[in-house]
Amino acid sequence: MNPSFEEPNNVVEVDDLRVSYGDVTALEGVSLTLEANKIYGLIGRNGSGKTSLMSVLAAFRRPDSGQVRVEGRDPYEDAELASRICLIRESGDLPTAKVRQILSMIARLRPDWDEALAQRLLARFKVPADRNVMKLSRGMKSALGCVIGLASRAPLTMFDESYLGMDAPARYIFIEELLADYVEHPRTFIVSTHLIEEFARLFEEILIIDKGRLIVHDTVDTLRERGVALSGPAEIVDRFALGLEVLGEHTLGRTKQITVYCHPGDDLRRQAKAAGLELGALPLQDLFVHLTTREDAP
């Protein structure tokens, strides 16, 4: 890494960010702080604003308003900072050239490029170096994007659904390689995905964006604790649910299950047990679905 850069604790600082496309508001009032050297999961429904957020962080576009800082600086048109930020988009940003030529060009533009890692990853993903990128399958193009993202070793690396088209073994290789390289060369990753459960083991913290607003920013462990499924006789469940934030409910005969979003401390668990209710953890994906499909969701 470039020693001339100080290593601030917060690698990303966003304050009251707004991004719009004509009449469509993609992001509104988004404020967040991301610490350096962590892996963040960025999740949200289609069109929720994930790509817009990452595009602004990568200086792909200017925000309409608000402030964006990466390593304490405005990333837009900052030549040194731009070389330290890498966004790999699912649409791909690859020229019509052979894989070998593309990697050679990027190696000359990325100051922290690791050629040995790039070659090893190409071999692992079975991407042929002498083939033109236009002749690669969708999955291989995505794998090439992942190779570029990892081998760039940019202090802020973002993958925007970069796994699209990759089969399950290739996705597992990507997750494995990302974790291994992160351990050896800690840096900040933001990974946007719809495959929440599959990628969850990567994440230390999760950001959920819905309708252009940041609705959750928590550690994975905290988030897992927050989503609770309670089930039992309908009348007891209803009484118990008073005062809790209910995300969803299902009734089957006289049995009811509710999903609540809370901090289930020992007292709640004890009370639920004493009331004869079953208390279960909610998978992250289910919690995400509940949070982003609520009627009153912002």
């Binding site: 200017r62 600086r73 405005d74 048109e77 900052d78 940003d93 690859l94 020229p95 533009l109």
Partner: protein, 251 residues
């Protein structure tokens, strides 16, 4: 300006990676060599045809400059859509892209202008051997094709003007979308059209305007004014590129 001081006192560099970017853009335009190969084959064929079956008293090579200008315009049009998103995604600033792309355009135009001048050398040799006068059809900076330095300068100015007009058109389409891009074709073409009219009396604005524009100007003005216009065109390209959002590419 390559660096400014940020609001937090950092010195912010605006340019980096120019050499590899310049090389990358040139490599991405290798097809331009193919265009020249085809042009040479076509003109060799026409010359052979005339030698075998016909006659002429005009310079054939003079007409080749039309296709070289058009092709440089195409190179310019493709610059932003083909290279801007790739290079910004590879960690470059838009300013770096414009600087490297301008150098690449200048290199292509200079190389192409050398070939234009070389073409006139070959044509003069063939025409002299066959006692063909080789009359020029248009106005030029040069009086006859033996003034190779003026042949080169004229070709360079015209090709750069077309390339920069093309770059403006491509950038407007990329930045503002197809509808507004179409509306902006005309203003973007002013640089190419006026340079053409000024130097060759070209027909963009009709023969009268072409003949009147630049009439009586000293030779140096016919070089300096288009050169200054090209520089202004590049500044507009730069300003447009700096504000351009990088859109998702369709692959």
């Amino acid at each position: 300006m390559t660096a400014v001081i940020s609001d937090r006192g950092h010195r912010v560099r605006r340019l980096r990676g120019l050499w590899p970017t310049y090389q990358g853009i040139l490599l991405g335009n290798l097809w331009y060599l193919g265009f020249w190969a085809v042009l040479i084959v076509v003109y060799t064929g026409i010359a052979l045809g005339i030698w075998l079956w016909g006659s002429t008293d005009i310079s054939l090579w003079e007409t080749s400059t039309n296709s070289t200008k058009g092709t440089m315009a195409a190179v310019g049009v493709m610059l932003a859509p083909a290279f801007l998103p790739i290079l910004v995604a590879a960690g470059l600033t838009r300013r770096s892209f414009v600087a490297a792309a301008s150098a690449a355009l200048a290199t292509l135009a200079a190389g192409s202008s050398l070939l234009v001048a070389l073409g006139f050398v070959v044509e003069r040799w063939i025409y002299a051997a066959n006692e063909i006068p080789g009359t020029l059809q248009n106005e030029h900076l040069y009086d006859d094709t033996s003034q190779l330095h003026l042949v080169f300068v004229e070709s360079l100015l015209l090709q750069l003007a077309y390339a920069v007009s093309g770059a403006l058109i491509g950038l407007c389409f990329y930045r503002f979308g197809a509808f507004r891009g179409i509306l902006l074709i005309l203003p973007c073409s002013v640089l190419a059209a006026s340079t053409e009219a000024l130097i060759t009396g070209g027909t963009w604005f009709g023969p009268e305007v072409g003949a009147a524009l630049g009439a009586g100007w000293p030779s140096w003005a016919l070089i300096v004014v288009p050169a200054a216009a090209i520089a202004v065109g590049l500044l507009i390209v730069r300003a447009l590129a700096i504000g351009a959002a990088v859109r998702p590419r369709k692959t």
